[in-house]
Amino acid sequence: MNLSTFLWLFISQSYLKGNGVFSHIFLGLAVFTALAPAVLFFILPACRDFYREKLRLSLFIIFGAVFLSTTFYLVQSDLLLGKLIIDARYEESHGTLETIKKVLQVSFILLAACAGIFTVIFQVSLNALTADLKRTSYMLTAAINITLLLVCLILVNYAARVRPASIDTSTIRKFSLSNEGRAIIKGIDRKVEITAFYAYFGELHKEVELMLADIAQTNPRISYTIVDAIRQKEIADKKKVSSNKVVLFESINENELEINKRHQSRRVSVVNNNDLKKMERDFVSAILGVTQTRKKIYFSAGHGEYSYTGPFVEKLISILHDNLRQQAYEIKYLNPAAGFPPRVPGDADMVAIINPQRDFSKQEKQALETYFFGGGKILLAVEPDSNADFSELLDPFEIKLQKKIVVSEFPYSSKKNNSILFATNYGGHPIVSRFIEWPEQYRFSVWPGTGYFDTFKDRLATHKTYEKRFFVNSNFKSWHDKIRNGVQDGKREPYQAFKLAVAVSLPDRDPNKIEQKMKPDQGDKANRLRLVAFANASFMTNEFIGNGKNHEIANNSFQWLLEDERIMGKLPKKLNESKVKLTSTQDDFLLYFMAFIWPFTILISGFFYVRLRKKNLEHAKEQKTG
């Protein structure tokens, strides 16, 4: 009767989910089988008299355990407490309700186990009334030992589940964090909840779960659950997820002043094996994205810059904008409405000036200088035909922008374009440091109609007060296209390498003339100024950003300027998994060997071994009798 109680309950609440007439019927059955023995026991005096006192106690315990267990199960089910928890998702009471649910679940299981154990004890005791005491004692001891062993094994399994440990022996550890990723995750100091929407036993479910388990193991503040969006629709609807293969990262930012922006969330789709390669990068970026205060990037406007919207899609920088937004950066515009000029807004984490056609006014330049030398971050991308002049920003670092078109030969493209330069040489800087891992033919970048940088001195200078790195250089087969025909014209246009991009940072307090521009009370903030300048802006447009390493250079520049080196340049894992390729001979060998030769070799060996042994035994027997 007790076992059947749990069976009816299971069918009613878990299988039928409490819906429909049949669910209620099974629920009624469960209540009946839970209470009927107790009712019978109390109603029928013959039953009570039959059992001795100790047995009556066992029965009381069994009935009580079953009743309480049933009640706790019903209360914690989705019918009651589960609904309350979902409704209180973002309220303070949510944590309390979750704790209550867990307590009820543990209690329900313990009480069910208690009912089971006492049923066994009852049965054994009953047996003792009529059977041999010694045998009964053996049975009781065995039952208790088995129960204790089971409890110990459950506890050990629970401990192994709570304190997980694993070794990832797969190629390049694709199901666990790299050392860098682990260091980043360990540093997260805010709670993050991850909900992965995958069908259990579905495609990629296990792969995603292994990575999430490793992340949760690395930082206890991060927790995850796996939900089937099709079967658990109410949870999916609450999270506004309509299908599987989506991972949702959520965190509450208590420091955010605007209440409606406190809840931060990111979504990552892991749909196929290609996505597995960048799974770690995407997950770590998403976690950083929901736990960091949103950084603000101010784009300059009003001087003919490339913009987010416009009539010619290929001339926009909308792909770049969207990518920055996906990384949780807030995009704003530097215009009079934002208070510029006379100053750059105080909440600007960086300023991006991309392809200004007209020069900035004196007041605007003053505002930019004040911002920059006060510890600001600026990204400059200026075309050779631009009228804008930023020598005030570049001169202190002995950099000069040469507005002359440079081009190169085309080793990596079959399309001839006489104003495109291909670069494959990168200097030692975090923005491009990862590129050296790739072979030369896969690390090219495309620079249409680019100028170049020059230094005041002949050699590259690295002052101890500031660091300057020309991190993108053209190929050695590049030339200044004076005649503008795209063809290298002998000695008039000699081959040389040109500097296309420069990054400047100020690690220590600067005693030289740069300090004159900084306010004395800026202190350490001023030391955090950073500048990235490109002698080209078109490489960031929709037309060219997808070529070669253009997108990574642009993206990494923004991340470096915003001091997000932790997620910068995390390349997808290099998974060289291809199909098993067999030649015709190998194919035949594999089939015939594995399916026929090997098994039959074993069979024949066994046959002869058994025959030989039989012969030896017979021979030995004959010798003995002989």
């Binding site: 609440q13 878990s14 299988y15 089910s77 989705d78 679940q105 329900f108 299981i109 045998r135 065995a142 030992n145 088995i146 062993l149 089971l150 094994l153 050990v156 399994n157 192994a160 997980p164 440990a165 694993s166 070794i167 990832d168 022996t169 797969s170 190629t171 199901f175 666990s176 069908a199 259990y200 036993f201 296990k206 292994l210 089937d228 079967r231 094996n273 060289n576 998994e577 291809s578 199909k579 098993v580 390729k581 067999l582 190998q586 194919d587 594999l590 089939l591 060997f593 594995m594 399916a595 090997w598 098994p599 039959f600 074993i602 069979l603 066994g606 046959f607 071994y609 058994v610 042994r613």
Partner: protein
């Protein structure tokens, strides 16, 4: 030799002797060789098709171990069904029980023989995943992890069937009961998506396949190791209790 070491040696020696005797016995009949050859053929055929048609070498290796897990479970059931059922049917179980060894030593010895047999079986299947490694960029780590999972799965299945072989004198019945129990353990995971918490979590925790899946992918997780060892210990103890119960009658 100190007393403790001598006592340990005295306790372990009968286990080893029983194990050796059983292990040799496996190879003295055509049945064991036939079982090995048959399941090698099945594994070889299925493995060949997976290697040839799977999209990547990783998936091919995963599928090879999926095949090996199934064949290993069958081999475990067939080998362990006779452990005690055969003794009972021949009438030699009473002799064993009255011998100066405990039921624990007897069970441990017989189980050790099955573990040794499974080791031979696993070694004989080695050419299959080795082919994947030689003809592609598959990783040795996945091979080691996969075999660990296959071996643990085989040992757990053998422990379950060994317990059932103590309950009956009919070997086939022991195989059916053991196989049925293992099937329930396998199916628990597949039916878990259809139920709610906490029953869903309990079913997944008890599922053999859920605990095996990570080994296929090359990840060795401690709680899966603990689970399989727990199953082996639990059913091994049940087998011991079942043998001891004969004394009560």
């Amino acid at each position: 030799m100190t007393d403790a070491r001598q006592n340990t040696r005295n306790y372990l020696m009968p286990i080893w002797q029983i194990a050796l005797k059983e292990w040799r016995g496996y190879f003295h009949s055509h049945l064991a060789w036939g079982v090995i050859a048959f399941f090698l053929l099945i594994a070889g055929l299925l493995g060949y098709f997976y290697i040839k048609f799977e999209k990547t070498s990783f998936l091919a290796m995963q599928r090879v171990f999926y095949t090996l897990s199934g064949t290993t479970m069958f081999v475990s059931v067939l080998i362990s069904m006779r452990l005690f059922a055969e003794e009972r049917s021949k009438g030699t179980l009473e002799l064993l029980i009255t011998a100066p060894i405990t039921e624990g030593q007897m069970t441990a010895g017989k189980y050790l023989s099955v573990m040794m047999f499974l080791l031979i079986w696993v070694t004989l299947t080695l050419p299959l995943p080795l082919m994947v490694i030689f003809y592609s960029e598959a990783h040795w780590g996945q091979l080691l992890s996969g075999y660990m999972g296959v071996y643990l799965l085989g040992c757990a299945t053998a422990a379950v069937t060994m317990f059932y072989s103590t309950l009956t004198r009919v070997q086939l019945l022991a195989a059916v009961m053991g196989g049925g129990n293992v099937t329930v353990f396998l199916l628990l995971g597949f039916f878990s998506p259809y139920v709610g918490s906490p029953v869903k979590e309990i079913m997944r925790e008890l599922s053999f396949y859920v605990h095996y899946m990570d080994f296929e992918k090359g990840v060795i997780v401690l709680r899966h190791l603990v689970f399989f060892i727990g199953v082996i210990i639990f059913y091994g103890y049940l087998a011991v209790v079942s043998l001891q119960a004969r004394r009560w009658r």
